[in-house]
Symmetry: T
């Protein structure tokens, strides 16, 4: 890994390492979720195509914003971040989506499963960060608000 | 692969298969390029940080638009598209970027190398598609205009 | 009450019940406050009519946004929400406003009293939620910031 | 009730009283309808969740605009208006909606029933006002155009 | 007066003459009202300067829109319209405002008196036009809605 | 014709039938007028090309809005509407425009004749609807205001 | 037909005649498709009413833009264009849609059939124009991209 | 005239009186010009109707802005301003326009004459103010730039 | 002071020194005025709170724009500018405002006094600059127009 | 000429040289055309002044966009571009326009001649580039669409 | 200090005093930082002038927003705030910047030092407020997110 | 030269001739400067490419606005203006820029030299016009403010 040459003097190194670890993992999860979301956006078929196809684009845009926020927070505490395809493929904890066309009901189910897996992984990270770095914890709280809202909206479509 | 149940009656199956192949490959390349672009956007360091950091975001947004255009053209000719992290990691023909911080000059060099590799891969696909499907070829021509323009701008920064 | 068929797997049931209780009560309070605000917006009379009439519309719009945020958080933790006129009339803890025209000074006093009553009811809910669900607590913190700011502005008009 | 101190010299007192009565009743009906609309917006469940959830918000915004128009017309003819929760709960002639979650088909049915009940109550008021105050009648005509259009759109969804 | 060379074939000449008369008178009244409104906008003094100064500009803009609507309706029925300073000075039925500075309370009173005088003059014209030309009547109904709303708002400031 | 399965309970069937008849006829007239307007927009030649070419596009956009308003009112009273090319060609009461290029003066004359023919056909429908359905009559009044304004503007260009 | 008085000196007459023929036919097809789209937009009934009703308006707007582009290209090569209702009714090669209400599934099927018929008619025209006039061919390529994308989206809704 | 109670301490009284005189006269001139402009805007007839009708509205809006600027400068130096119809009719030095319809060529001539008369009256005022109050002179310089530009554009239309 | 290494060749050094002196003094004055304005914006109390609180923000924004214009003009003539807190505290010629809450009438009085003190200090600078650098003088003329207008508006509120 | 130090590795050198030659010539032509367009925009006189004066500005803006597109394409293939006044004066193949005022009819004729001369020069370049570089050819096709459309609009004004 | 007459009944006095102290100190720090930022914005010199000059303006705008938020929170808990030049000069804990021109590298270093000093002073205040007032703490958390992000971006430019 | 047929009656002929001479020369200078700016915009190379490339576009847009202002002022005083390539090449007093690629430092130097040469030529023209035509002088003052500001910004980049 690259030498950490420019550690900020305003952050406790141990706290920074913990922030790095939890946010890096969340970035990886969200990139995988975002890629899967586009995958479903393109390959969905079924009577609910139109509204789900559009909804997935809204979700995708929201994930991108969150990824950027979190990745730049990692930088702000002095660590590099890793969002390359290989890293995402190897480390993200998000259920896979299949190749090929997918029926609309299955799309909703898959997207919900993806959201729930990220929520369940982020919850303990948020609590852990609450003990070491309030600004970072606050970002995960905001992330949970967004993810849980979208999970509800998908769950309600069943 | 998913059964191709809903082949459009307006497209020649052989042409569609060729379109699928070339655009699928281009989608994979562009997703890898987009992920690498964000990677550099976050980890860049050096005196030119500000303008290169911002430029990479502009490039990233441009790539996302192109990916969507091409992926939906694949759908339009009746094939599913594959943009998942594992597929991208395995199949994209784009040079890797390192983990960790990267100096600004190296960032420009890497981004230019990435762009040039995609340009060189897209050129023959565009020519080949010119023989089988004009609307698909036209999309790759537009893509080349954009990629070559950005390659020039990066090359001029050296 | 409707059977709770679609409880999310990402939320602890006990936490969800507490969130439901405190946010439902806050939604009821805010709907009553919003209706009273429009009531005063229409019936105000006096030399300060113009600016208070307009200010009340700004407040009303702000309350509607908060109501929606909180009500959808209740849904996100798996519970239905209740914002019907009869429920609001029966359960909201907001001081009544009179029918008929009201002089501008009294309007300011009434609106301030309404705001203060909601603030005083939300404070302990926010603290309680801090122990069970950070994302929900965070919403009440944001609500308090808004309500207390507007209370100050009304208080300063005296 | 508050003394009517500032009766405008440009309006016939009898006409004003009739305008007051019919528009006050319409305001009450519309507030009840608007509250029920949000209730369904939050608690809807089913495959059509997404589009109906969004549609209900459009309807709600439209109702709020109409309520404001009518309430300010009451003021313009010199009477106070009453839109408090208790008044709405006691006097509105709109069918109740249940507490708890509601399936999407039932939501559409309930919203249509609500709209139709208001339309049927407004029609005779509009005709009656035609005899006493053209500007007020014109507002109810515009209201009927809007309500009947939305009733059609809901009816067509069945 | 200019010869009426281009009478439209779609309008009854008698109706057109009546429309011309009533709308021409209303245009003259509104121009006088608009000029007086700017006069007060510039010369107002007193503690309520800020909000009344701004309100008068809103009213002025609204009057200009109405003047244009009505003047072009006169043209649409085949008659010329007259909005010159001398015509307005000679024929408008709007109470005068004084030269020099005016205290804010007096400004509100004068503007209200101006509005009420126009309302009282427009009412019978609207009713008369209802018998000869529905589109023209409809414009005066819309005008009354606007004027009466603003009269209420001024009346409420006392 | 399609069975009328979803007649609204808020509209009198006889009134609905009359509304259907008059608005259907007006929709047909306006579609023919709109198609002729584009025809002239494309084929006009002469020194006034620029301003008339642009004006025709403004008129076309205005007609499209009116067509949609009226067609959806037909739906709102429970009837289907018919705006197909063959129906328009067979039933619209609008003077024909020639194929081929047209000089600018002739374009203005033709467009004016088209407008006047629609105005003359809509006037009695508006009056008739005034006896059976106020909201529908109100739409034709608004239509007449627009059409007569544009007829004036074209007439003034001669 | 009108004499072609103003043939441009920059276009080969034979090429212009071929461009005229193919684009005139495409304009006629698209006008018919646009009219049918509005027809279905107004008369659709069924559970998917909301999203299909809105989608048809998006498609209609897109067709209008394409019609204008192509019609003005015909003018640019020196020929008049014909888009009158009778011409469209007589010459367009688009399947008819029925009068009366249509269920949502049938609407999607009809709109898809309409799109596919235009695509199949435009393909050979595009190829033919490729031999005589590149700018005109380029417009049909862009048209095909749009039509084939929308055909895919409709096909996916089944 | 109203007593000048609130003379600013930052302005020399003699300078203020001169500013008052010259700007008051300019305000009166511009109001007369603006009213005449609308008069011509409504009553113009002839082949150039469309572009001149629109141009006059642009000029009118520009005059209104200038009137407001100058009137408020009078206030800023401690004097009231007078823009009432009777004052304008009595004191403005702008050539009259006739009642009734006016041909387009004559409209352009009249508007140009009006502009030139104001320019010729403002020139010496600007020079005079240059000796007593630079900020006031600067406003008349800006006014001359605008008026002379529009005079050129009208002159070029002949 | 920093060495003036980059003196522009287009400006006379003596003129530049005078411009520097007068604009530097004006920048210091305006920064003090802007800080005092925010101070009053936060601490105002009284019945006119709402409109004065908002007006002060408008004034503050206007001052910031002027400060930037003038400071960059100092740079344009080759001198550095000084806008640090200590410099402002030591050199600005603006009356102090008190700490703690201030009643609305006193706020208006203080803001007016601040404005008038700056106006009286800027007037001679503007005249002096008129002799050495027209572009710099022109900026102070524009500043005086703005400050004197706002002084009038505050003076009129008494 | 400057040494070509940074030739892109993605473009064939011979193709690049041809692209350079044809696009450089087109840039020179378009700059001359743009300068002539502004010349006519300023010096036009005659009854059609208003609309032609404005049209020329629209054309000028369009030319500037095209110039930039093409010049940057030259850079993208590794060559410098030359758009200096002397180069344009010496090499552009566009008919001259006279100094001094020009009547409106002559302006239209001159602008049309300028457009036609560029179209006739670009046509063979587009065809030639079709054989060596599709992205560059595509830009000239788009240019021809725009130029030929505007040539038609000018031709139609005669 | 001004008597605290209007203490809100919704806030604990001891908590309010602590909030006052910490936020007042933060306001003073941020005003000093904002003034220094403008100082550097005006006086920067060096090859990175353009991007750093612009970046400083972005930072300045961000600081102003934060200052307003915090100052109004002080008011909301019932205390006055102090942001006058003398107070800032005496109490702010931000390193000084020099007068005169500053090279770009030094500008970045100074701005970073300023940011870091504020961050280090705000951290303990945020933690302390977490014990007494959640809404106030939340504002400092948001402030830290912003300041630390900008500190990273400056640090990366080295 | 074209006969000056339409001399305005509001301008002194001698003054007009002087205005013509000085503004015509300034227009020529600015067109040359604008063309050179685009030349550098396209051909720049070096590490500062991105920000200088963009800055040159901002400058170019600013020059175009100024050219238009000045050219139309020439027209306003009754003279034609000359901005053709040959005139510019022959008469502009702006240093040449080379053909071919230019390094970024040299670009900044050349652009600054161009700006300074125009400033030095405009200064005496502005002073001369101050004696004959205040509105024209005012335009050159505004031009100097803009040019000198940009000269400073370029000078600071060294």
């Amino acid at each position: 890994m690259a030498t950490l040459k420019k550690s900020p003097t305003t952050v406790n190194p141990d706290a920074a390492a913990t922030v790095h670890q939890h946010l890096q993992d969340t970035v990886t999860d969200l990139i995988a979720l975002a890629l899967n979301t586009k995958q479903l956006h393109w390959n969905i078929q079924g009577p609910r195509f139109q509204s789900v196809h559009e909804l997935l684009d809204v979700l995708h845009a929201e994930y991108l914003l969150q990824i950027d926020e979190l990745a730049e927070r990692v930088s702000a505490v002095g660590h590099p971040v890793d969002g390359r395809a290989a890293t995402v493929a190897a480390q993200a904890g998000v259920p896979e989506v299949p190749e090929g066309f997918v029926r609309d009901d299955a799309v909703i189910e898959m997207q919900l499963k993806g959201l729930e897996s990220v929520i369940n992984r982020v919850r303990p990270r948020q609590e852990h960060l609450g003990e070491v770095d309030a600004p970072s914890e606050d970002m995960l709280i905001a992330l949970l608000q967004i993810l849980e809202k979208h999970a509800w909206m998908l769950r309600s479509q069943k």
